[in-house]
Amino acid sequence: MNIIGKPLTRVDANEKVTGKAKYTGDLVSPHALIAKVLHSTIANGVVLSFDLEEAWKVPGVVDIVTCFEVPDIQFPTAGHPWSTEKKHQDIADRKLLNTRVRFYGDDIAAVIAEDDIAAAEALRKIKVTYEEYTPVFSVEDAMKPGATTIHEEKPNNVVVHSSYEVGSFDEAIKEEGLIKVEGDYDTPFIQHCHIEKASSFAYMESGKIVVVAATQIPHIVRRICSQALGVGYGDIRIIKPYIGGGFGNRQDALTEPLNAFLTTRVGGRQVRLEYTREETFACTRIRHAMKFHIVSYVRKDGSFAARSIVAYSNQGAYASHAHALVANAVNGFRMMYPVGAIKGEAFTVYTNLPTAGAMRAYGIPQIGFALESHVDDIIAKTGFDPIVFRKQNMMKLGYVDPMTTITCHSTGLSECIDIGEKHLDYTNKRKLYAKQTGPVRKGVGMAIFCYKTGVYPISLETAASRMVLNQDGSLQLQMGATEIGQGADTVFAMMAAETVGLTMDKIHVVSQQDTDITPYDTGAYGSRQTYVSGMAVKKTAEVFRQRLLNFAGFMLHKDPWDLDIKDNFIVHKNKTERLLSVATVAEESCYSLTNSEHISAEESHHCSDNTYSFGVCFVEIEIDIPMCQIKVLDIINVHDSGTIINRQTAEGQVHGGMSMGLGYGLYEHLEFDQKTGRMLNDNMLDYKLMTPMDTPELHVAFVETDDPTGPYGNKSLGEPPTIPVAPAIRNALLNATGVAVNSIPLNPEKLFFASRDAGLIQ
């Protein structure tokens, strides 16, 4: 391949280093009205009344809308492809503004004003009367008999309870001589922390409601807005400019439905609804906190006889993506080590906390921590070698998952492990470090993962691409798939250039999605775009290329099937002599007085396959026991993501995922007031996102496999790098101290209590 695999710079880099790239807030009119949302200050109850008198007196207030005035429509917010089967549809459990308050921060009213100061002042002057119920914050409390019902549709607060069994667990554990290992593992709520806040503005034009929004999923948001307002899909138009990160938070309708409604209240004037950082933390989405109970039965030969898992996922106030995440987690539990009998059970439970939704790797960072910690607990109990044990039991080539039928079409996991092991000298160091005493110790740890590339067959996978030939021989590429920072536009451009036969400078990507114009795609999530949307690019490029060749054949009086395109020129197949430039073909195709034909192509791709990507993290840490601090000395992620389309952007994805994984393992968690349910650390100072000083040097390596189902042999990469880091650190701590800490983050206070309980601190 000519272009695929080259470490090319991003197609949007120049725009971004010069400040020319326009984000939502850069496009808003200076005359836009400003909307602000009034959030509830109780976690569970009902709004009885508002006193708006003082708020209306604030100069500049244009409109105040309360939960008593919005359409009586419950709508879903999850960024899933719509299912035409009712039982598979997302749960519709919220209104634009809610009378029934379900978390501290629920949307109960909104003010539209001439400026932000007036809007903020009016909010402060609204008085609310509530009827309060006892809030529940933990899964345990929410499931207790007598707990307040949060949504009447789910009287016991369990959103979904599911289970599966492969083989017979009860039979399998009857085998003689099995070693039983059991553990409980907890993961915290965290937040995405994209640097651009949740933001949109809306106005009406030609009878339509137009919403410009920082979203990963413009086409899905259009559907959700239409459902929320009770208008047709065609009455809504969503425009997605550059966005400042997403990480799954924006795989959900956030400010858009309410913003769409608010502009209709002021005659279609432009209304801006940008959340503050605090609102972005507490009132968008967060990552589910999950609790796992794992039991394993291991044979003396190091193979699994049986495993079981029970998982509880704290959903918070609204369903959003609901059970899909914990279901993915317990499925991941099965897939990683598909040996012996396996049974899984999962609960998703409503509580009176902020709503959990999608976040990078969708339930797998949670199970990744639990499972890979558990594997090292098995190693600690049995004395097996951690690498041999994993290699013996992990997914192999050709595996077909019995529940989903997803097949392992390619795997380089074993090689990934070998590269990481060598980088760290893991095996030797692990033995050496196990014998340490003293206050400062070192440790090494590892963790592996597997990750599905798309969402098939759980959900629809569909994508489309459009290519238009410009008169100079360059190509306009339009995608329904979205650039959210991950580099999608760059790899799509590379794919188009590769398959059509043009050089990169001839590809013009239209980065912005506009649902009135752009081809349909479900959007950026699930690490699906290079795989699913990439196939749409490939198919479109093949059709486009053939149309170009047909016209060139006509011009050259040659059979188009004998022709090819190389580096912007028409050539004979397998020859290099340039017959004609694509620019000449383009000009002629447009302006020919006899045969004008506008060359373009648009193809959609319905993807009905899936494949696994793999990887590993190896880490070396130092712990200062009395200071309760972990320092990362060395860290490497090694990934099998199939063919790497662009090494530079791929490395960037891995770095970012590692950093997020380091935060997950060491620093990040959301804190809530135990009485009120208010989020306490809803800002960038109190929420400990890793700063440049906290981040170690990050090492990356790839094992390239050629996946037969990927458009160019590629598999998922966007989400996976974040998965294995936290358990690798936890296992390194186990190696250093012998102390197994089964919850993250491994922050100083947790280390203090763990070390004290283990007698390492007096």
Binding site: A13, V17, T18, Y242, G246, L685
Partner: protein
């Protein structure tokens, strides 16, 4: 509300802005000069996306009152390109090293790195990290950002030596 006229130098040009005294510097520069490279990620000086240089030093323009800019020399990302629009070495390094992803923190990071690349002596990677510790990025893990800054600084020092 009360207004005030603020004379200052912005990206090499002498300017006078009449602003509501309640404006932040970022409000003034975005609103009156269209300098949209200045981003708001937190509005409280915690993310660094609004970083500009004031008299050569990095400040968060979101928590800097516009009235304080009187008589100051301000540089934003837009001021790094030359008059014909050719970008500077540090911007090019961010492109070449792949230091850009979503791009929202990029302007602030580049501005925070300007004092580093102007340094006469090489700065260690740890010190570079310290000098950009007021800027947060969720996409990159900082690795390639640090690379871009380090390489630009080394290149500048080499060029100075060659002269």
């Amino acid at each position: 509300m009360a207004k005030k006229t603020i004379p200052c130098t912005v990206n090499g040009k002498k300017r006078e802005y009449t602003v509501d005294i309640r404006s932040s510097l970022s409000d003034m520069l975005r609103g009156q000069e269209g300098l949209d490279s200045i981003k708001h990620g937190c509005d409280v000086g915690e993310c660094g996306a609004c970083t500009v240089l004031i008299d050569g030093k990095p400040f968060n323009s979101c928590i800097y009152l516009a009235v304080w800019a009187e008589g100051k020399t301000i540089l934003t990302l837009e001021g790094l390109s030359d008059k014909k629009g050719a970008i500077s070495d540090i911007q090019q390094a961010f492109i070449d090293e792949g230091a850009v992803q979503c791009g929202f923190c990029t302007p602030g990071f580049i501005m925070a790195s300007v004092p580093i690349i102007n340094s006469e002596e090489p700065t260690s990677r740890d010190d570079i990290r310290k000098q950009v510790a007021g800027n947060l990025c969720r996409c990159t893990g900082y690795e390639k950002i640090i690379n871009a800054i380090e390489k630009t600084q080394h290149k500048r020092i080499e060029e100075k030596k060659a002269k």
